[in-house]
Symmetry: C2
Subunit: 91 residues, 2 copies
């Protein structure tokens, strides 16, 4: 029988070394900052997409660190969020 | 007759509004920071290429703000230069 609780626990254990031992990648850092800044504004991904001129699904992939965003797109997001572009990569 | 001095002067005049009135783009900011950080180390573009795993001609295009670099490549450059990735976009 497949037990979800066991599955979740093993996943959790797998993630521990990553959380405590590995440096966050720039892509992950940006993903986290972007999500936080967007949520501080109370904006959905749709709202940020409309304000930045980027596509909502693209913003989703960036917030999940699935895509390596370019500096030009970072600038569009920073302008929409009214922050300096370096803020998106701050630790 | 084509006069180089006139050509240079008019180019200069065209650039003035850009220099005094317009905000530097993120791409230009990164280009300037990258060149400065590389030169502080006394490294050629070849040297930075070898240390970052990126191609020398690619680094050249980034330093001339001709190319919109990705966050993954920015991270490679920052690691080679031993700076935080946000440093590449600082004003």
């Amino acid at each position: 029988m497949f037990r979800l609780s066991t599955y979740r626990m093993s996943l959790h254990c797998l993630q521990v070394p990553r959380l405590v031992g590995m440096k966050e990648s720039a892509r992950e850092l940006l993903a986290k900052n972007l999500r936080e800044l967007r949520q501080e504004k109370g904006w959905s991904q749709d709202e940020l997409a409309a304000r930045s001129g980027l596509h909502r699904t693209y913003i989703g992939t960036v917030e999940r660190a699935e895509q390596s965003i370019t500096v030009d797109s970072m600038e569009k997001l920073a302008t929409a969020l009214n922050v300096k572009v370096s803020r998106l990569l701050e630790e």
